[in-house]
């Protein structure tokens, strides 16, 4: 869907040249939610703005749906942009227009006749869950509602790609989740390719299929969200993973567990995208003559299943415990017996 080769952007300032994006390659598949995460100054914002040429690249090529974006003429670029939606951190709605009129704006730009426009706007208002608010002005809406208007507006011309520029960074955690749910919903319903940039690992974890970690204008690590969560290679990635998985109490817990449970077996279950055995613990205690006691852990849900670790204590006959552990090993859950600190 999107293929990027050798993409570079240099900002020339009086004192020095700043290399915001540095020889970047990426491939984004059709229908996927591709997240780019990085700290501020990593170049992710420039990267997403290069995709619809709000910034002109200094070098490299961007191919979106077999169209070479970087070599389009002004007019062709305008038409190509009508097929790409974009939402922004600060929503960027026109305060002088009502919700309906804001959503109708891209349709006016595309030259849709008035009656059709009205119909399409009503559809979109319903899609983003703003029924009844059509004649409100943006100043009368909450942040989350404003972003819903932004999303409706970006989808108006049925784009193939949606670019999200820190779309949830100005929202509180609860509203962030509702907006993310809406994006997942849209992705599933419309089969839309979504490229989003963020500095919150939470956003990546919750909705992305693949993630790229950016630092210093380059993608330093890239892969399926789960793989990156599971085996972060780079230091910067580990820090991001810690944002959501960070577990500072683990060491203390393990020490206490060793003192408290001399009999039986302590095991660590590592969930790496388990889907079928989500209720693993109760399954184990039903199938085998063992008591399972959850001692410590954290599980989060990603688009590809459950991810996280649980430390459990198994009590019962030695053979029965071994059989139970064998069973767990047959699922995708990784098992570590008597984990070390």
């Amino acid at each position: 869907m999107i293929s990027i080769k050798g993409l570079s952007k240099v900002f020339k300032t009086k004192d020095q040249d700043v290399q915001a994006v540095d020889n970047l390659d990426a491939v984004i598949e059709s229908g996927e939610i591709f997240g780019v995460i990085g700290y501020s100054g990593a170049g992710k914002s420039t990267f997403i703005r290069l995709l619809n040429r709000l910034e002109d690249p200094s070098g490299g090529t961007i191919d979106i749906d077999n169209q070479e974006i970087s070599s389009l003429s002004k007019k062709e670029l305008r038409l190509a942009r009508q097929e790409m939606g974009m939402i922004f951190q600060h929503f960027n709605l026109l305060w002088s227009r009502t919700v309906e009129e804001n959503i109708a704006f891209p349709l006016e730009i595309a030259g849709m006749p008035k009656e059709e426009r009205k119909k399409r706007v009503d559809e979109l208002i319903e899609l983003v869950g703003l029924t009844g608010r059509g004649s409100s002005y943006p100043s009368q809406l909450s942040g989350g509602q404003k972003q819903r208007v932004g999303i409706a507006r970006s989808l108006a011309n049925r784009p193939k790609v949606l670019l999200c520029d820190e779309a949830t960074s100005a929202l509180d955690p609860e509203t962030t989740d509702s907006i993310l749910d809406l994006l997942v919903d849209i992705n599933a319903k419309l089969g839309l390719t979504i490229v989003l940039i963020t500095h919150e690992m939470h956003v990546i974890r919750k909705i992305c299929h693949r993630v790229a970690v950016m630092e210093g204008g380059r993608i330093v690590e890239e892969g399926d969200v789960l793989d990156v969560f599971l085996r972060p290679q780079e230091k910067v990635t580990k820090r991001f993973v810690d944002q959501v998985m960070g577990d500072p109490d683990r060491e203390d817990s393990l020490n206490l567990i060793k003192e408290k449970y001399p009999v039986g077996e302590v095991a660590q279950f590592h969930f790496v995208g388990e889907r079928t055995h989500q209720a693993l613990i109760s399954e184990v205690s039903r199938k085998f003559q063992v008591d399972v006691n959850v001692l410590h852990g954290k599980i989060t849900q990603t688009q590809k299943g459950a991810y996280g670790t649980l430390i459990v204590h198994l009590e019962g006959e030695k053979e029965e415990i071994d059989r139970a552990l064998e069973f767990v090993k047959e699922t995708s859950v990784e098992v570590e017996v008597a984990p070390n600190v």
């Binding site: 709000l54 038409l79 009508q82 960027n92 026109l94 006016e108 730009i109």
Partner: protein, 222 residues
Amino acid sequence: MFEQLFPNVRVEDMITATNETLFMTFFSVLGTFIFGLILGLLLYLTGPGGIWQNKIANWITASLVNVFRAIPFIILILLLFPFTDFLVGTIRGPEAALPALIIGGAPFYARLVEIALKEVDKGVIEAAKAMGAKYRTIIFKVLLPESTPALISGLTVTAIALISYTAVAGVIGAGGLGDFAYFYGFQRSNFDVVFMCTVLIVIIVFIFQFIGDFASRKLDKR
């Protein structure tokens, strides 16, 4: 009572003078709005970061605006006599005051337009670009609507300056309340006439201010 307080004020003369002032004000505000808006847009669009960014065009527009703003209004009228004569065919009467009023007012309003446009959220312009909007669409559907309250309050300030300009123009034969206050009031020592003219001008100013404030507030949905 009225005749005792204002023995020299003749109502029909006052009405004529007021009408002339209103005529000059209305058409000069209209002309100033059109030319000032065009100049202000040029200043903004050719300025740094504007969609038609162009140093030379910006410099020429800015110089034009600055020069005409620097000339004192009374001198501007005298300077424009040949131009006015050519354009209107006379240098006397309310019509003849219009070229000088508009040329004096437009650069002033242009700067206020530029300030108003600079206040428009850059993100909104960027959003319009990302939607594939043409420059024309950005100007007429984003920049102007989003700056309307500031454009109107700027026009109110300009209109009030223009009302006082009409009085200055009156002294050199443009007619209106300024003319009347000077020739029939001051020169004949009829101070009741001067006072009456003042009251009428102040009322006109208040009306413009009220209309401007009201419209600006009504259109501001922020």
